[in-house]
């Protein structure tokens, strides 16, 4: 009796098995990487409705962060400035600039600007700016050198692992008073001596429990 299956079919089982393994590994690897803190939005750099330059305003002109982000010391949200804040200066400076047209339109029509959000933690994580500022964590620690960014981009992953790294060991990031908005700040050599003293004096105890952020 002739063979029912030709000879090449002998190779089928290993091929199928190999493919199944490959697909499985692929699926697991896909979720392993894309579901992990290593895959983040670092580098996210959307185009804003107005090409506002932080480099110009915060860097070259030296405006303090808090001129616009007024809530940062008292509120969970730092806040994006109202159109009014832009118009404080831009009624005088470059009042006819083409780039500022949306701002002027918003000012005249009363329709708010729609900025695109870059720094975002998930809705189930409750981040509070004010307590970080009060614990002497500076802007650039999380937001990077905003003063050098023509267009703002995300520089830190804002993942839970990244948060916890600092919550578990905040000492390297605590700044002396007056340096919160200082973009140039780098930890001095005696950073740990200063920080440890500050931590014990001010009872700095960042939560590492889940409920610290997830409510």
């Amino acid at each position: 009796m002739a063979q029912i299956f030709p000879e090449w079919t002998n190779k089928l089982p290993p091929i199928v098995a190999g493919m199944v393994i490959l697909i499985l590994v692929g699926i697991i690897g896909f979720f392993w990487y894309y579901g992990s803190p290593y895959y983040t939005d670092v580098g996210y750099r959307p185009e804003q409705p107005v090409p506002y330059s932080h480099k110009l305003h915060a860097g070259d002109l030296g405006l303090d962060c808090r001129y616009c982000h007024t809530g940062v010391e008292v509120s969970p949200v730092a806040g994006v400035p109202p159109t009014q804040t832009c118009m404080n200066c831009h009624t005088m400076i470059k009042p006819d600039s083409e780039k500022l047209k949306p701002i002027r339109e918003s000012w005249e029509s009363g329709e708010p600007m729609e900025w695109i959000r870059i720094h975002k933690v998930p809705d189930y994580a409750y981040f509070d700016h004010s307590i970080h500022i009060n614990a002497q964590i500076g802007c650039s620690s999380c937001h990077g050198r905003i003063d050098r960014m023509e267009v703002v981009s995300l520089v830190e992953p804002l993942s839970m692992k990244w948060c916890l790294d600092c919550h578990r060991n905040p000492a390297p990031y605590i700044r002396p008073p007056g340096n919160i908005t200082n973009m140039e700040w780098v930890p001095p050599e005696n950073q740990l001596t200063f920080a440890n003293r500050f931590i014990s004096k001010n009872n700095i105890d960042p939560p590492t429990d889940c409920t610290g952020c997830h409510r």
Binding site: G110, W115, D123, Y124, S130, T211, H214, R215
Partner: protein
């Protein structure tokens, strides 16, 4: 588990949740053993292969789409930032909730112009910083998507200005005729501005008619007082001062006027800290078991119609004991009464012993004569101006049925040509014999102001949407005259108008803003030199301090009282099986129907029956047996030629041959939540008997009607609970003794059970770093009012699941109120026990979570991380208290956007497949911690309050840092009545209970002999 039981006080007491459980019906046995009833995990609807495939396909496609890249999120700042608002920080404003003729002072949490939570205003005398169920739930009504959205002319959309133009044209003819044919039907109010506008209206149209109507009102009380002293007075009770309280068919702790103040005062007089403390004694005489009846030390079940004769018998009893009661000379007919002589005698003795420190209250359902007699009794007991004060009625516009009747008659005979209905829903809730709708249809021009396009709106010419009290300006007065302002929190969402604005427009045809109207009134109220300064102060505080009035002088006109009592004698016959009594009850959920479209309230289990989403015919076991009906039998109720079909619910403790039915259900035009829920009892209610009536008969239809009752859900899993050992075990869960037993043995709580040696399976962690959060619940003052459940629902974004889901045991309330009966199944005692997550230090749930979604925090919380939860439900299965709730569906989804505005932005909204439970309001703890940290200090005691604690009218719930020796919680935890639920499991719950005490009269010592 080996456990020695000994020394159970009130021994022989048997606790049970329902009659089914007591007789050990098979379906209830599963409840204590299972996390959810059988079949809960299965899909409710038919789930065919086809829709499974389509769902799977869709979700795969969606999953593919969403994972591609992160969604673009917009930040939308202000154009011009308002000065006070810092985004992210809520603001708190004082306002007042007008409720009938009452005022509930509130503080509103407002997130960037969006009110999200209501709390009591501590400065307001009628709320005392607390809120009841209705005040807590009122926020959801603001965002009701079914509210009326525009002015309608015969059902067609019009604008407010079109209405004004039309009305201006119309009133020209009435101006010349002095208002002949013009009429206003208003809801009762206690508002200086509305009172001023009413006067102005009647000045302009002197011949116009004015009637005030509300289906549940205090007219009987007012006319009773009038009968006795010749002047209308509003009683205000000082329950704290009263050592002995007698409630005659009055649910004064829950549904009668001033219930927050009553409950708070009652609790203050009842709270026991040490063995030497005094405790008040509560006697209750009532037909249906109520919250007040559950708190009673002695409860006498009696048909509502016999309450009058009972009061008369009491007056006689007091008189024979040397305390003459005014008007007693007309009461001779009640000398031969059927009531328990011993009970009545002991009560009378107790009242006399506590002269000047006792209080008798009667329910609003009872006729005026009862209230007149009660006033006379209080006066004889020298209670007036000690435990009860009567205040002049002032600017209060009280309901008067007489006016309504004459208005309807005039309309019938064509004497009314234009009618303005200022709020309310008279077609739905006026007495059925008045045939209001027919009369309304005879009126040429009709205007109706209401929150919804409701049953009445369909029969009117003009419908105007009414603003919610959080949307408009107004003012209110408490019974003792304290004035407060209703301050809007948000622009009217649907362009609603306030009563004041409509009344002003109706009077003059002019469009005046509510703000101007209220300020105009207050120009004459505030007499200081700087009006604006005073005004701002009042807006800030929420009350006008200088406005309290003096109580009226009470001098009984004995002769007139006697004549009145003679004229309308109390019924002395008893209702029987063929002609039963019907008692119209106010609903604990929807009140008189005004909250019918409020999902939180519809799903809130009634404190006593534990029914949700329905009303039922509530009757005693004996009545049901003789009628041959059982729970959930659909029966036809026949009453004076009218019929209504409702299911039966048997309630232990109900008077025989009397049935109770709740008003406010059976709405037809209120919205997606309330339409078609329950039956409309107003279709039986007659104008000559709005409280209770006789002559009801019941026929079985042979059909069944499924009710969603939560009473057996989440039963605590004490070994073999539903079996024989229940008798032994439940006294451990609800520990209870009499005051006498407590005085004899202060440690009774701990001697009830000798716990086995506590051995731990795990390494025990020491929690010694401050703060450590803990809670106590004093069962002795908890009335079971449900306010905590709704406060929790509002604070923690807890979804509404609907009747079908409740039937499956899937209700989501984090705070449930276990209601236990004990004693005689026909006349039991009742205990409420609020149970939410006990925050065990060694939590069993944490041990079984495979993904560490529930973990312990340093400050002793059993934390729940929703985003980690994968929904294995092992934790709920392992929780001995059954306090974990599972999102079987995406309950939060599918609601219009406007409903989402009610959500607390500080709490995650949970998705399908996620477990949730009480967190001790961890969001409030976090905010308190941050605030303290910013100032580099410890959290102060009382700085962090949980939502349930904040609203609890009786302060039964205490929360705080148990390691702070100066904190309130530390002191409460030292009390010897403290115990933990299932402490023998050695899981160390952080929530403790304080044992319940009762204070029975030693003269009435009963040998309890429960018979099956």
């Amino acid at each position: 588990m080996s456990k020695e039981l000994k020394n159970i006080p009130s021994s022989g007491k048997e606790y049970w949740r329902s009659l089914e459980q007591r007789v050990k019906a098979p379906e209830t046995e599963a409840f204590p053993h299972r996390e959810f009833p059988e079949g809960t995990a299965e899909h409710g609807a038919t789930f065919s292969r086809r829709n499974f495939l389509s769902l799977m396909g869709a979700s795969l496609a969606l999953a593919g789409l969403t994972s591609c890249r992160r969604p673009v999120e917009k930040i939308i700042p202000y154009v011009i930032a308002p000065e006070e608002i810092i985004p992210g920080i809520p603001l708190y404003y004082a306002t007042t909730m007008p409720f009938g003729t009452e005022a509930i002072g509130l503080v509103v949490e407002n997130h960037e112009g969006r009110p999200t939570k209501l709390e009591g205003n501590p400065k307001h005398p009628q709320s005392l910083g607390k809120a009841n169920v209705f005040a807590q739930a009122a926020i959801l009504d603001l965002y009701d998507p079914d509210r009326s959205q525009s002015v309608l002319y015969r059902g067609e959309e019009r604008s407010w200005s079109e209405f004004l133009a039309a009305w201006k044209e119309l009133i020209k003819e009435y101006e010349s005729s002095d208002g002949e044919g013009l009429a206003i039907l208003s809801e009762p109010f206690a508002s200086p501005t509305l009172a001023r506008l009413k006067k102005a209206f009647l000045r302009r149209f002197p011949k116009a008619r004015w009637a005030a109507y509300e289906p549940v009102n205090d007219e009987n009380i007012f006319s009773g007082v009038n009968m006795a002293i010749g002047e209308i007075g509003r009683p205000v009770y000082h329950c704290t001062e009263a050592r002995v309280i007698l409630a005659l068919d009055s649910d004064f702790l829950q549904l009668e006027h001033d219930n927050i103040r009553n409950a708070a005062g009652f609790a203050d007089g009842r709270r026991v800290i040490t063995r030497d403390d005094e405790m008040n004694r509560l006697y209750v005489v009532e037909s249906a078991m109520t919250v007040t009846g559950g708190m009673a030390d002695h409860r006498y079940r009696l048909q509502s119609r016999q309450i009058g004769a009972f009061t008369a018998a009491l007056a006689l009893e007091l008189t024979t004991r040397g305390l003459p009661v005014d008007g007693v000379e007309s009461l001779d007919a009640y000398k031969n009464h059927p009531f328990d002589e011993k009970w009545l005698g002991a009560l009378a003795d107790d009242l006399i012993k506590n002269t000047g420190r006792s209080l008798v209250v009667a329910g609003r359902r009872q006729p005026a004569e009862v209230h007149a007699l009660v006033l006379a009794i209080n006066s004889a007991l020298k209670n007036i101006n000690r435990t009860v004060e009567y205040y002049p009625i002032g600017d209060t516009e009280a309901a008067r049925q007489e006016d309504l009747v004459s208005l309807v008659q005039a309309a019938d005979s064509g004497d009314v040509t234009a009618l303005v209905i200022l709020g309310g829903n008279p077609v739905y809730n006026t007495p059925v014999d008045l045939a209001f709708r027919e009369a309304l249809e005879k009126i040429t021009h009709t205007v109706h102001l209401s929150t919804h396009v409701d049953e009445t709106s369909g029969y009117v010419e003009w419908h105007i949407p009414e603003a919610h009290f959080l949307e408009c300006w107004g003012d209110v007065q408490t019974p003792d005259g304290v004035l407060s302002i209703v301050q809007p929190q948000i622009e009217p969402l649907f362009g609603g108008k306030s009563k004041a604005e409509v009344l002003a427009a109706v009077s003059t045809g002019d469009d005046r803003s509510g703000y101007d109207l209220v300020r105009e009134t207050w120009q004459s109220i505030l007499t200081g030199t700087d009006f604006n300064r005073q005004w701002r102060r009042i807006l800030h505080d929420g009350v006008y301090d200088g406005s309290k009035v003096k109580p009226s002088r009470v001098e009984i006109r004995s002769q007139k009282l006697a004549t009145a009592l003679d004229k309308k004698p109390f019924p002395t016959d008893t209702a029987g099986l063929n002609s039963m009594e019907i008692v119209y009850q106010v609903s604990n959920s929807v009140y008189d129907g005004r909250f019918a479209n409020n999902g939180w309230l519809q799903e809130l289990p009634d404190p006593v029956t534990k029914l949700t989403w329905d009303n039922a015919i509530v009757m005693s076991r004996r009545t049901a047996q003789e009628l041959g009906v059982k729970n959930e039998d659909l029966v036809t109720l026949q009453h004076r030629g009218r019929t209504l079909q409702l299911p039966v619910w048997i309630l232990p403790g109900h008077a025989d041959y009397s049935i109770s039915v709740e008003l406010g259900y059976g709405r037809e035009a209120v919205g997606r939540i309330g339409n078609g829920v329950g039956g409309n009892v107003y279709t039986l209610r007659r104008s000559n008997a709005p409280g209770f009536d006789i002559g009801v008969s019941i026929q079985s239809t042979g059909k069944n009607y499924l009710l969603a009752c939560t009473q057996d859900h989440h039963g605590l899993d004490v070994e073999k609970l539903a079996r024989e050992s229940i008798r032994d075990r439940l006294p451990i869960i609800v520990r209870e003794a009499t005051l006498e037993e407590y005085r004899e043995n202060g440690e009774f709580v701990h001697e009830i059970v000798e716990p086995p040696p506590k051995v731990s399976m795990w390494k025990e962690i020491k929690y010694d770093e401050r703060p450590q959060w803990g809670m106590t619940i004093d069962l002795n003052v908890c009335t079971g009012c449900n306010a905590c459940t709704i406060a929790c629902q509002s604070e923690n974004n807890i979804p509404v699941v609907g009747k079908e889901e409740v039937r499956l045991g899937r209700e989501m309330h984090w705070m449930r109120l276990d209601r236990y009966y004990s004693g005689d199944p026909d006349d039991p005692e009742m205990v409420h026990q609020p149970v939410s997550c006990q925050q065990c230090e060694m939590a069993p749930c944490e041990q079984v979570c495979p993904v560490a979604a529930t973990t312990h925090t340093k400050d002793g919380l059993n934390g729940m991380t929703y985003n980690r939860c994968v929904g294995t439900r092992y934790c709920a299965n392992n929780c001995p208290y059954k306090v974990r709730r599972f999102n079987f569906y995406n309950y939060a989804k599918g609601w219009p956007e406007i409903v989402q505005m009610v959500r607390n932005p500080d709490v995650t909204v949970r998705f399908r497949g996620v477990m949730e439970k009480c967190t001790y309001c961890v969001q409030r703890i976090a905010l308190g911690k941050i605030a303290a940290k910013k100032e580099n200090r410890e959290i102060r005691d009382g700085e962090v309050v949980s939502a349930c604690q904040q609203t609890c009218p009786t302060d039964a719930i205490v929360f705080g840092d148990i390691l702070d020796p100066n904190s309130k919680i530390f002191k409460v935890k030292q009390q010897n009545r403290r115990y933990e639920l299932l402490e023998e499991l050695n899981i160390r719950p952080r929530t403790s209970f304080l044992a319940k005490l009762r204070n029975p009269n030693p003269d009435l010592k009963q040998t309890q002999n429960p018979k099956d």
